[in-house]
């Protein structure tokens, strides 16, 4: 094993030690942060941002989920209407 590889292996060892330490330190701090958030949310429970409808302005949300409903409603109305007529005729 030549010197260069030994050097690289030492460097890798340092990286391993430093890297895993930082990863654990970082994610441990994040555990603390999550506990702090949970504490904060219990301490200051606000209904303010829980409102389901967002006040979206200027850009109407035309995604399928919203635009489908009126269509379905119309279709259902038509279907039930048709059906009632059909059943009445029968």
């Amino acid at each position: 094993m030549d010197t260069q590889m030994t050097d690289q292996l030492i460097e890798a060892g340092v990286l391993l030690a430093v890297g895993m330490s930082v990863v654990f330190a970082f994610l441990t701090l994040l555990i603390a942060a999550i506990h702090a958030i949970a504490w904060f949310c219990r301490a200051f429970p606000s209904a303010e941002i829980e409102s389901p409808k967002s006040h979206q302005k200027k850009v109407s949300n035309n995604t399928s989920s919203t635009s489908v409903r009126p269509q379905i409603a119309a279709a259902i109305t038509a279907a039930v209407h048709t059906h009632r007529h059909t059943t009445l005729r029968n």
Partner: protein, 377 residues
């Protein structure tokens, strides 16, 4: 006669290099894995197709003026595409399971051992005459152990662009192989009793916690590891778009149309790096071998960490869920659930495994940041 010669010259036949033909078969092989075996098809299908296109003689897909050249330069060498993918993945990720049980982050941390341990493997391979990995190369290869495609592509584009194609292919292939690689390791390291352990139900997480979580991750990252902020920051941005509830338009676009468009282009661009001179090398075999090692060590580290935590915890922790710490969301969590059900048909571990699973995404992004900071350019 001259016209016929021009015509002959304008076919691929007199220009084919056998290596290009091999690379095309590699491309078709990736298409096979994607379509028939359903190996991460969203990426491997475009990668495979890109690999075929880039190896066509005279077509010049990856030369100046070629389509794949433009896409690669615009999106991959700048790092923009993997970051946009990460934003979209953030907008798709639900951290509830992790917020409800934050200790799971330790499993996501432990599984990153696979990344750093693989550095040794890459350097030891240099002892063989065919390999000459620099520390930057080794780092880019090791990140395969993070089991996260965009992270691997982003790091490779910064540290080892020449190996990007092989690293991306290895990363996505092993992510797809999670159901085959992980279960034997999980079973070897756990007793049947451990695998049967039920876990306590998770508490409900409020909307406010879910909004504050990505901001907390962002703040910690920007203070401690700014080199990781491109990845982690875009991930948190996507997650905030999703959780804040006031920009559903943007969140939907980030997790649907935008990520789809970028996935098509990213796949093709990665495929364009599968040229013969870059892929048909001993390095590629080394990358594939090291990737498997990284993956396996990561899985084992996660399981062992879970065993240790179970010993010191008052609540049960089923050691299987440690395997989900490598990320590969949500495949690894599903595998945990499946192996758990084999031991105890009434024990559904899926939600419990989602915690370490998403923790693994953060863990490998952090590991990528460390590597960027310490061995980066």
């Amino acid at each position: 006669m001259e016209q016929l010669l021009i015509l002959w010259e304008s076919t691929s036949l007199p220009h084919f290099d056998y290596k290009q033909i091999i690379m095309m078969f590699v491309g078709f092989g990736l298409l096979y894995l994607a379509i028939v075996r359903k190996f991460e098809p969203l990426l491997l299908l475009p990668i495979g197709f890109g690999a075929i296109l880039t190896n066509i003689p005279l077509a010049g897909f990856s030369e100046a003026g070629g389509l794949l050249h433009y896409i690669y330069e615009v999106g991959v060498s700048t790092g923009v595409f993997p970051l946009l993918i990460f934003m979209g993945v953030g907008a798709m990720t639900d951290f509830s399971a992790l917020i409800a049980n934050p200790r799971m982050l330790l499993l996501g941390a432990a599984a990153q051992f696979g990344i750093f341990a693989t550095l040794f493997g890459a350097i030891l391979l240099n002892g063989l005459p065919w390999f000459e990995f620099t520390l930057q190369d080794a780092s880019a290869i090791a990140i395969i152990g993070g089991a996260d495609g965009p992270t691997a592509i982003f790091l490779a584009s910064k540290l080892a662009p020449d190996l990007l194609g092989a690293i991306a292919v290895a990363a996505y292939s092993y992510m797809a192989l999670v159901p085959i690689i992980q279960p034997p390791i999980m079973r070897a390291l756990t007793t049947p009793e451990e695998r049967k352990l039920p876990m306590a139900q998770l508490r409900v997480v409020t909307k406010k916690e879910k909004i504050l979580f990505p901001l907390a991750v962002l703040v910690l990252t920007l203070i401690l590891l700014p080199a990781a902020t491109p990845l982690v920051g875009m991930f948190c941005f996507g997650n905030l778009l999703k959780e804040c509830g006031v920009v559903d338009r943007l969140s939907n676009t980030a997790q649907n149309e935008l990520i789809n468009i970028v996935t098509i282009f990213l796949g093709l661009a990665v495929g364009s790096r599968l040229s013969a001179d870059k892929f048909l090398t001993a390095e590629t075999l080394g990358i594939l071998a090291l990737g498997a090692v990284a993956f396996s060590i990561g899985t084992a580290s996660g399981v062992i960490m879970a065993k240790i935590m179970n010993r010191f915890s008052k609540d049960n922790i089923n050691p299987l869920i440690g395997a989900a710490g490598v990320s590969a969301v949500p495949m690894a969590a599903r595998v945990v659930n499946k192996v758990g059900l084999e031991a105890n048909p009434h024990n559904f571990l899926l939600m419990h495994a989602m915690g370490p699973n998403v923790a693994g995404v953060l863990g490998s992004a952090v590991a990528a940041g460390i590597l960027l900071a310490l061995v980066g350019p």
